[in-house]
């Protein structure tokens, strides 16, 4: 009985490079479904095209790529080859549709790394350079002013973030107030991962909680489950001006999203997996943000955790966020 129960579990493949028979089987079934539908549609399309004046090659190629993209599986369980194929398709699609080149990375987590983040409440002055840099780096929707980072102006002596004001439209810092920023804390026990019905969000080995934007069905259960209001939904088609598009992208990070999918801070996965700091860390003019590898005993983040009095938000919920606050 236990065996049967365990067989019902579906654990994602830890090593995507090793092809797993179980998932090959899934691919076969999906490919079978795809071929059936392709056959049916091809028949209909054949009848249609024989009557039409002819489709140009570009539209046909875009359609073919979109077709492949629609039927691909969950990135979480894809093999390395499938991941390379999908990022190639995305780059090609962008090239065909927009005429510019982007590079979409499928870089895997760096070994023996667990990202940690610390925020110095004494240092933050509410300048919000982090917010501006984040929006530019992550190709967020400009139409709805989507921002992953929220800065709260909290009155001294209060220190309850929920009593803070996030609508800051005056010069900062204001005397008598301090500033605290929130974003996705990349929890070690993420409640959003547990509730996703299709497994479109998961925690990677380097600790980043990621989303496969093409797999998400938009039910927003994860948005309800997040205790830190870290997740954002694309209520309409996101727009990024072509001139402002960041072309260095990662499949799980800042590649352009679409209407009806979730997104959130990924600690700038496209940067951190190549050794850079997240955009917010780099942009902060006061040095209030500290980032590094929790598994390196000599990293700045570990030193901060050892020497400073740190706290996390909503510690009692057991989410184990990898984002600490401290003061001088």
């Amino acid at each position: 009985m236990l065996q049967t129960l365990k067989k019902l579990f579906k654990k994602p493949a830890k090593e995507p490079s090793i092809p797993n028979n179980k998932f090959s089987l899934n691919v076969d079934r999906r490919r079978a479904l795809k071929s059936l539908i392709t056959g049916g549609v091809a028949g209909a399309a054949l009848a249609k095209t024989s009557c039409s004046t002819g489709i140009d090659a570009k539209t046909a190629e875009v359609a073919a790529l979109n077709w492949e993209e629609y039927f691909k599986g969950n990135y979480r369980v894809m093999s390395r080859e499938e991941r390379s194929e999908t990022v190639e398709r995305l780059e090609k699609l962008h090239q065909l549709k927009k005429g510019t080149n982007i590079s979409v990375s499928s870089a895997e987590p760096v070994k023996d790394v667990l990202y940690g983040y610390a925020f110095n409440v004494s240092k933050c002055k509410g300048y919000m350079d982090c917010v501006k840099a984040c929006v530019a780096e992550n190709n967020q929707d400009r139409k709805t002013d989507m921002q992953y980072i929220r800065i709260f102006e909290v009155k001294n002596g209060d220190n309850v973030l929920e009593h803070g004001n996030s609508q800051i439209a005056h010069d900062v810092p204001v005397p008598g107030y301090h500033y605290m920023g929130t974003q996705c804390f990349q929890c070690e026990n993420p409640p959003c991962v547990d509730v996703c019905p299709v497994g479109a969000t998961w925690k990677e080995d380097d600790g980043i909680v990621v989303i496969d934007y093409d797999w998400c069905i938009g039910c927003r259960y994860c948005e309800a489950a997040c205790p830190y209001w870290a997740r954002r939904f694309n209520w309409s088609e996101p727009e990024v001006p072509a001139a402002e598009l960041n072309e260095n992208q990662h499949y799980l990070g800042n590649r352009p999203r679409k209407q009806g999918v979730m997104e959130k801070c990924t600690y700038c996965i496209q940067r951190t997996r190549t050794g850079q700091n997240p955009a917010c860390v780099e942009a902060c003019p006061t040095g209030a943000r500290i980032f590094g590898n929790l598994l390196d005993p000599e990293s700045e983040i570990r030193q901060v955790l050892a020497e400073k009095k740190v706290f996390r938000l909503k510690e009692d919920l057991g989410t184990e966020p990898k984002f600490w606050y401290f003061m001088d």
Partner: protein, 415 residues
């Protein structure tokens, strides 16, 4: 009795054909009713097309209140579906013959309610074309981790049960044979436990989120059941009374009275649970009570839901008191309006009064209120119309068979 596949197919198709004939024939009032429902359904589809084109930004939902009218209705309707068990249970388990007339109608209500639930869920999805991602083996079905996957299983299973059992019984009666208890009785018992499961699982969807202290309590599941068993049979009573008067189908007063008694007890239990919740939230107010504070008293001048919840509770209490009085409960002329009002009160309490406050304030303390847009209201109306449409069709097919008018006439050569 050996029946060839050909005869079975002929039987089934004849059943469908006769059913359609029955469903499309009726008085001018019937056609007016179906016509009005159809118009509402078309309006709903048109509104939904706006949603597909422009995304969910055409609704009143946002990153703060990310579930709104659709999920409110979904939550309430799962309760309505589960309430069918309150008709099935006495009929088969306690073998109370008074209920046997109402059983098929109760199951019809369950089917209609479940179809509405599924429609609301699909309407709420950001990416409905990607729903196939939930299929096991072809997609990624995150069971047992995600409560939504449990909900998908139990809801579809319950729909299957409530379609197959009446279908079998009706087909047998249509044929003129007696349905075999050996075949359907185990599934009846399964459906009784299953009905409790669907509503508990739906409650667990919300109760399992520590991020939302308004929902994260142990009483949510039992409260759901109590309010379902108060509001659901109320709806069934109204349907039964309508059928009795309009469709010339005999339903004993005893059936109605016993259903009314079930409603009364459930409504009383519901109020006790409500009292318990109010005590917990307001005796010693912690930060966890802030959503309850918003709902009942408003926060920082935002009081949109306050009149709704007090109206709901007020009418709920009034109806419960009235129902507790025997002469009122047994008087059908008074019972029907009370049942309707109770149904609406529970709709507000369990729908808007449960889902929306869970999001206000946000986990970071921001206060954003919710107002549904015309798109949401129209789609909701369309889906409700669809539910009534399905219910009407089911009743219109089932009752003639029950009454014995509609029977299978096999071709002479088949015998």
């Amino acid at each position: 009795m050996q029946r060839t596949l050909g005869i079975r197919m002929a039987l089934f198709f004849s059943f469908i054909k006769d059913g359609l004939k029955s469903a499309t024939a009726g008085t001018w009032r019937y056609h007016l009713w179906m016509g009005a429902l159809s118009i509402l359904m078309i309006a709903g589809m048109l509104a939904y097309s706006q949603q597909l084109r422009f995304g969910l930004s055409v609704t009143g939902m946002n990153d703060h209140v990310s579930w709104g009218l659709y999920i409110s209705n979904f939550t309430f309707l799962v309760g309505l579906a589960a309430a069918a068990v309150m008709v099935v249970l006495p009929a088969y388990v306690i073998k109370d013959l008074d209920f046997s007339q109402a059983v098929l109608i109760g199951e019809g209500v369950a089917v209609a309610a479940l179809c509405m639930c599924l429609a609301f869920v699909v309407a709420d999805m950001g990416g409905p074309t990607r729903l196939w991602h939930m299929l096991p083996f072809v997609g990624y079905f995150n069971w047992p981790s995600s409560m939504l996957t449990w909900d998908v299983i139990v809801l579809n299973g319950y729909l299957g049960l409530n379609l197959c059992i009446p279908l079998y019984i009706l087909l047998c009666k249509y044929k003129g044979t007696k349905p075999n208890k050996k075949y359907y009785l185990p599934f009846i018992f399964l459906s009784i436990g299953w009905a409790l499961a669907i509503h508990l699982v739906t409650a667990f969807l919300y109760a399992g989120l520590p991020a939302r202290p308004f929902w994260n309590n142990a009483l949510l599941g039992p409260r759901f059941l109590a309010s379902a068993f108060a509001g659901g049979p109320a709806f069934i009573i109204v349907v039964l009374v309508l059928i009795r008067s309009r469709l010339n189908y005999k339903i004993d007063d005893e059936t109605i009275n016993k259903l009314a008694l079930i409603i009364t007890v459930a409504a009383q239990v519901n109020l006790v649970m409500l009292g318990s919740e109010l005590f917990k939230e307001f005796y010693q107010q912690t930060h966890h009570s802030i959503s309850a504070q918003y709902l009942f008293f408003g926060l920082n001048g935002k009081t949109a839901l306050v009149p709704w919840i007090w109206g709901s509770i007020g009418t709920n209490v009034l109806c419960t008191i009235l129902l507790s009085i025997h002469p009122i409960r047994t008087n059908t002329k008074l019972l029907v309006p009370i049942a309707i009002v109770l149904f609406l009160a529970i709709w507000v309490d369990k729908g808007l009064g449960l889902i929306i406050p869970g999001f206000i304030p946000s986990p970071l303390g921001e206060l954003v209120e919710y107002t549904p847009t015309w798109v949401e209201s129209t789609v909701t109306a369309g889906i409700w119309a669809m539910g009534f449409f399905i219910l009407t069709v089911l009743i219109k097919v089932a009752l003639p068979i029950e009454k014995g008018y509609l029977r299978f006439r096999a071709a002479p050569s088949a015998k």
